[in-house]
């Protein structure tokens, strides 16, 4: 695969983007108004994720009731048709457990858990299609679904993946790029530079870390705006309906 030209001398990537361009980001909130408290659908390029949030509710087992704050539980299911090659994935796969734990721990901090003691917030994530940046899309979907459910959060958690090709950072990698170059996924709270989520799986020269992080943070702020637009659009729609009645 490495024979493929990921970044042409003219500065174009395999899907025709420049180094600092995001893929198409589309999101919807309140997609499943009857089946759960909050839901969202996120598309980042060809990666498609549905997220549903139940709660805060009474936990089914006593062990999940924490008197200090809400417990956040993430269930991850990746559809067997989500990749080109059909493959059944088990939930106990280490990669899945790791992503699940990462999401749980990230949102445990970003949600104002202390406002909901002795409750459980259950988050179901369904991955319909994956084409790179899976963890980022999932985190974005969870943020939107939590907002839709009306769970108090400090701010949006917006996520993006960024890779490094030779010396050039490439923003928002697709599946092909992700196979070949190292990927850094970051999640930022609101419009700050605080990293709530951080995952780098392959080698990256230390001296390029700063520039890579810089572009990634700028991208998360952009993603935050895009998500915010969607939330506001939905909010306006709802309030106009209320005004009519």
């Amino acid at each position: 695969m490495s024979r493929m030209e990921l970044y042409s001398p003219e500065g174009l990537r395999i899907d025709g983007r420049r180094w600092n361009e995001l893929r198409r980001f589309e999101s919807r909130i309140n997609t499943h108004p009857n089946s759960c408290d909050g839901s969202s659908y996120v598309e980042q390029g060809n990666t498609k994720v549905i997220c549903m949030v139940q709660g805060p509710m009474e936990p089914s087992s006593r062990s999940q009731a924490d008197s200090a704050g809400a417990t956040i539980e993430v269930n991850l299911s990746v559809a067997s048709f989500s990749t080109f090659e059909r493959k059944k994935r088990s939930k106990s796969e280490k990669r899945m457990v790791e992503m699940k734990a990462t999401l749980e721990r990230t949102f445990q901090q970003s949600v104002m858990c202390h406002l909901y003691p002795r409750t459980l917030i259950s988050i179901d994530i369904h991955v319909l299609a994956q084409d790179g940046g899976l963890l980022a899309s999932m985190a974005n979907a969870v943020t939107l679904a939590l907002i839709d459910a009306g769970v108090a959060m400090y701010d949006y958690v917006s996520c993006i993946s960024v890779g490094l090709h030779d010396q050039t950072p490439l923003l928002d990698l697709n599946g092909l790029e992700e196979q070949d170059i190292s990927t850094l996924t970051i999640g930022v709270i609101g419009k700050t530079e605080k990293l709530a989520l951080l995952m780098l799986e392959d080698k990256m020269p230390l001296d390029h870390l700063e520039s890579t992080l810089g572009i990634a943070i700028a991208a998360t702020h952009r993603i935050r705006d895009l998500m915010d637009d969607e939330v506001r659009k939905h909010g306006n729609l709802r309030s106009s309906k209320l005004a009519k009645n």
Partner: protein, 310 residues
């Protein structure tokens, strides 16, 4: 459910006050690690290492055998890391049940060493598509005192450098192989491309105002401790694991929850870690070299050397 003991509020307050005054309860500096000690490199067996790091104790065994390679990768040997954490180490780990924490520990060690290609898999190939070496590392944690990831990674890398596989000759024009007994021919060390070193930073928010921390601009309130012990680990409000090697490459970065970290601080931590990484890599190198020398002297291998020292 984990059966770890919760720390009392008094103890927590005492600890935080200490941090505010710039003092850790164990007397170390904030960026000081506990150096490994009591390192035992087996003389009888290649690739068996026992070491202690603070009160942590691990044993690592590397073993090898010959097998058929995977069909999609005929030129590559096979390398696995088996991470065994049971309740012997600490009551917080349960036998036979993989908690999230255990999975994260083994996953990060695996990512640091296996995925980063620190072991050259192609050098493990004997006959393409037919015979390759399978290298298995068994990592057993014997006692827990915080920070399993750093010590595990150090132990595995030390054991891999200590390990030697039997020499092999290919006969009948690539049809058959002879595996030479280790007493017959000097066994071959593995080819290691780079040595990853994991460092875990735990962080503490001493103001106890989460909202300020998440939304605020000032970062002076956060304290970062390198290589936490058992108690510090219980009190942490988050941690970040940085894996680096001597070539100034970041192998792996992961932050699993905990209070958010400022991007510039992350860069500072990574740059600051280089010194510790160099120290640990050199320590490993020295240990292996001393061990080799000792073995060389004891077995009087000089007798076997042909050629004049010029």
């Amino acid at each position: 459910m984990s059966r770890s003991v919760d720390v009392s509020t008094n103890e927590r307050a005492y600890f935080i006050e200490g941090l505010k005054a710039g003092i850790r309860l164990n007397g170390r500096r904030f960026d000081e690690i506990r150096y490994p000690h009591n390192i035992h490199l087996s003389k009888e067996e290649y690739g068996y290492v026992e070491l202690e790091w603070g009160k942590n104790k691990i044993s690592v065994r590397v073993s090898s055998y010959i097998r058929k390679p995977f069909e999609d990768r005929p030129f590559e040997g096979i390398f696995n890391i088996n991470c065994e954490i049971n309740s012997m180490a600490s009551a917080k780990f349960e036998n036979g049940k993989n908690s999230d924490e255990e999975v994260l520990i083994s996953r990060i060690i695996e990512k640091s060493i296996r995925r980063s290609n620190s072991l050259d898999l192609e050098s493990l190939c004997i006959i393409a598509g037919e015979k390759v070496w399978n290298i298995t590392v068994d990592l057993n944690f014997l006692n827990y005192d915080g920070n399993f990831i750093d010590i595990g990674c150090f132990g595995v890398m030390l054991a891999l450098q200590h390990f030697k596989k039997p020499d092999i000759s290919i006969i009948n024009g690539g049809e058959d192989i002879i595996v030479h007994d280790i007493n017959e021919r000097e066994p071959q060390p593995l080819s290691i491309l780079h040595v990853p070193v994991c460092l875990t930073y735990c962080f503490y928010n001493i103001t106890n105002q989460q909202e300020v921390n998440i939304k605020g601009e000032s970062t002076s309130d956060d304290i970062y401790l390198l290589d936490c012990d058992y108690k510090e680990d219980l009190l942490k409000s988050g941690s970040i694991i940085i894996t680096l090697n001597k070539n100034r490459e970041i192998i792996q970065l992961s932050k699993n929850g905990g209070i958010p970290i400022d991007a510039s601080l992350l860069v500072d931590l990574a740059l600051g870690s280089i010194k510790v990484v160099d120290e640990l890599t050199d320590l490993m190198k020295k240990l292996i070299k001393d061990h080799e020398q000792q073995r060389f002297d004891e077995l009087n291998l000089k007798l076997l050397q042909v050629g004049a020292d010029r």
